[in-house]
Amino acid sequence: MPANRIPLSMLPYAKEARIVALEGGHGFQRKMRVMGLREGKIVRMITRQPLRGPVTIEVDGIQITIGKGMAQRIVVEVIK
């Protein structure tokens, strides 16, 4: 993974990143895409719950809570 590419679960608070890959089966990819999490979309970290809890991110003005396991399979590229 290139240096600025990280799993979404590791995106620091308030940072923005671009989704570059969804690592999972067809079902997983589709589930993410129809919720608005597609390759090329810009996401912003809203908050991360402690103790391996879920993360909440914003995409297109919509906030979504995603379990940690799923967030680890979304690869993003930090932009700012």
């Binding site: 079902g27 589709r30 589930k31 895409r33 129809v34 919720m35 608005g36 597609r38 809203i46 908050t47 719950q49 402690p50 103790l51 391996r52 809890g53 879920p54 909440t56 297109d60 003005g61 919509i62 906030q63 979504i64 809570t65 995603i66 379990g67 940690k68 396991g69 799923m70």
Partner: protein, 570 residues
């Protein structure tokens, strides 16, 4: 009758549109063979009665869970589809819209939350969108009723699109991109006070204290509503109107088996609704006058938490705990309702997706969540011993909930999908929708739970009247004695409480136990068995086989916890 189906993503205000379109006659029921609920109602369209169905929210026609499967199945018998779309998030919503149009269904698109989109600086060219999609598009604000009349008038003009043809998923996203480019302009968005509140309630540092405050406040309101309903409505109804009738029946029966069964024991020559224990006295009073008012209050507050948009945030905050217990954040809902009464709690386990999640949620509910009646029992028995002893009971129950959950998560087979949900912006709940929702839930409770509750009381009364309970008590007394370190009489009370906890309280109070022994006794009473009504509803929700497993777990837990407490506390 013509069928109109409302389709849309979750959180687009679909059910508000539904309640605007339909009259009072709305039914919520189970989709056959599933645990998914949906609502059905009717409306008049040019003098003709048509059926309106509110399908579960779905993001796409390729379902990824049971609720979405049901939504897709409902399409099959639809004559017309109203596709409710969130104007503030057109891009994502159009995915489902295009799928519907590709499948050649007659569709009307309702651009809901039109006002909110304007607020956010989103401009949608309605005519352009209509042209691109090839079906009628109406702007609505369901919350205020704006545009609903136009929507009704447009239903007839629903048509099959001649603009959209079958395409692949990739092509669909490209197409959406093109439509958006032509029909939508997004201006700059200002951060508002609402965003600040939204942030504060989901970040753990501020969100968790706020959650505790909100839950505490909710319980205060529930108590306030419940108590007032009882004092000013339900009690007077029973005392003034029902009691004279029941007394006359009592005189007519005078005494004997049927008097014991129907009326029970008279206290000072009168019916005492809490203590007489007849099917037509306590059996009716407890579910209707003692439990129902609280359930109304709980359902009302739950609807507020839901419609305001707080529930998904609470689920997010709770998820790290509940995920370890084999559920996800939504597991808080059965727990919350269960504190009022385990029965609506048991009904609410349906909102969880998989069998494993429902099984764990239901079992933990029955084991470690004391309902109002059980809490009253705990306070009734331990009240005079002081808050210290009462805290031990609640602390033990919390530990049991968590430890049992962690263990069940490890041993129960099946999937427990992670949390994945949209956090909608905060919205002011609409009182009309709130009341309708609360009423639909109460009716569901009455229909699904009350008959079982009555049946349960009947069975227990018969068992009691023929002396089966006392017999069972004496048979099991020595075993209880050995494990829990309680004297014979207390063991008898525990056995009686196996089916009737109210009875157990009285029996325990007469035994003269040490405070710590009482603590053990009420903890076991709370853990080992829910009331008959909960038991019956759980059989219905889980099936006989799973309920037997669940029961085995309950008894095993009670014995284990009681035994441990015996070792630690005595």
């Amino acid at each position: 009758m013509k069928k109109i189906v409302l389709m849309g993503n979750p959180n687009v205000g679909k059910s508000v549109v539904f309640s605007r379109l339909t009259g009072a006659n709305v039914i919520t029921s189970n989709y056959p063979g599933t645990t998914v609920d949906f609502s059905k109602g009717s409306m008049k369209l040019h003098g003709e009665k048509v059926e309106i169905i509110d399908a579960p929210g779905t993001y796409s026609l390729v379902p990824s869970n049971k609720a979405e499967e049901v939504a897709v199945k409902m399409l099959k018998d639809a004559d017309i589809i109203i596709n409710v779309v969130d104007s503030t998030n057109l891009e994502r919503n159009l995915f489902l819209t295009l799928e519907l149009l590709e499948k050649k269904y007659p569709v009307v698109v309702a651009l809901n939350m039109w006002d909110e989109a304007k607020h956010l600086g989103i401009e949608i060219d309605k005519d352009k969108l209509q042209e691109e999609l090839g079906v009628p598009v109406v702007a609505t604000v369901a919350l205020t009723g704006e545009g609903i009349k136009e929507l009704v008038e447009t239903i007839e003009k629903a048509r099959i699109s001649d603009k959209i043809e079958e395409m692949s998923e990739e092509e669909r996203w490209v197409k959406i991109g093109r439509i958006i480019k032509k029909a939508e302009k997004v201006g700059h968005r200002h951060h508002t006070i609402r965003d600040k509140i939204a942030d504060a309630t989901i970040k753990p540092a501020t969100g968790i204290p706020l959650a505790i405050l909100i839950i505490f406040f909710t319980f205060m309101v529930v108590r306030f509503i419940g108590e007032n309903l009882i004092t000013y409505i339900f009690d007077p109804l029973f005392e003034e109107i029902y009691k004279p009738i029941a007394m006359r029946l009592s005189e007519w029966l005078s005494q004997g088996f049927f008097h014991d069964l129907l009326i029970g024991q008279l206290v000072d020559g009168e019916i005492d609704f809490m203590r007489s224990m007849g099917i037509l006295t306590t059996g009716i009073y407890v579910p209707f006058a003692a439990v129902l008012p609280y359930i109304m209050a709980f359902y009302f507050m739950l609807s507020i938490l839901e419609d305001s948009g707080y529930l998904p945030r609470l689920a997010t905050l709770m998820d790290n705990v509940f995920h370890r217990l084999g559920m996800h954040g939504h597991g808080i809902v059965p727990l919350f309702l269960g504190i009022g009464c385990n029965v609506p709690g048991a009904l609410a386990t349906r909102t969880l997706e998989t069998r494993k999640q429902r099984f764990i949620s239901a079992t933990l509910l029955a084991i470690a969540v004391p309902c109002m009646a059980q809490i009253a029992m705990i306070f009734g028995v331990l009240g005079k011993e002081g808050i210290f002893y009462i805290s031990i009971v609640f602390l033990t129950l919390s530990i049991v909930y968590i430890v049992a959950g962690i263990i069940l998560n490890k041993i129960v087979k099946g999937e427990s999908p992670e949390i994945f949900l949209e956090i909608p912006p905060y919205r002011m709940p609409n009182i009309r929708t709130l009341l309708k929702k609360t009423w639909m839930r109460i009716r569901w409770f009455l229909k699904d739970a009350i008959p079982w509750l009555m049946l349960g009381v009947l069975i227990v009364n018969v068992l009691y009247a023929i002396g089966f309970l006392s017999w069972l008590g004496s048979v099991l007394a020595p075993i209880m004695n050995g494990i829990f370190g309680l004297p014979g009489e207390a063991s008898l009370a525990l056995i009686a409480g196996f089916i009737r906890k109210d009875l157990a309280v009285g029996m325990l109070l007469q035994t003269g136990l040490e405070p710590m022994q009482l603590v053990i006794a009420v903890t076991i009473l709370t853990i080992y068995f829910p009331c008959v009504a909960t038991f019956a509803v759980l059989i219905k929700e889980l099936g006989v086989k799973d309920m037997l497993k669940s029961t085995a777990i309950m008894i095993f837990t009670a014995v284990l916890v009681g035994g441990l407490m015996n070792v630690i506390l005595l």
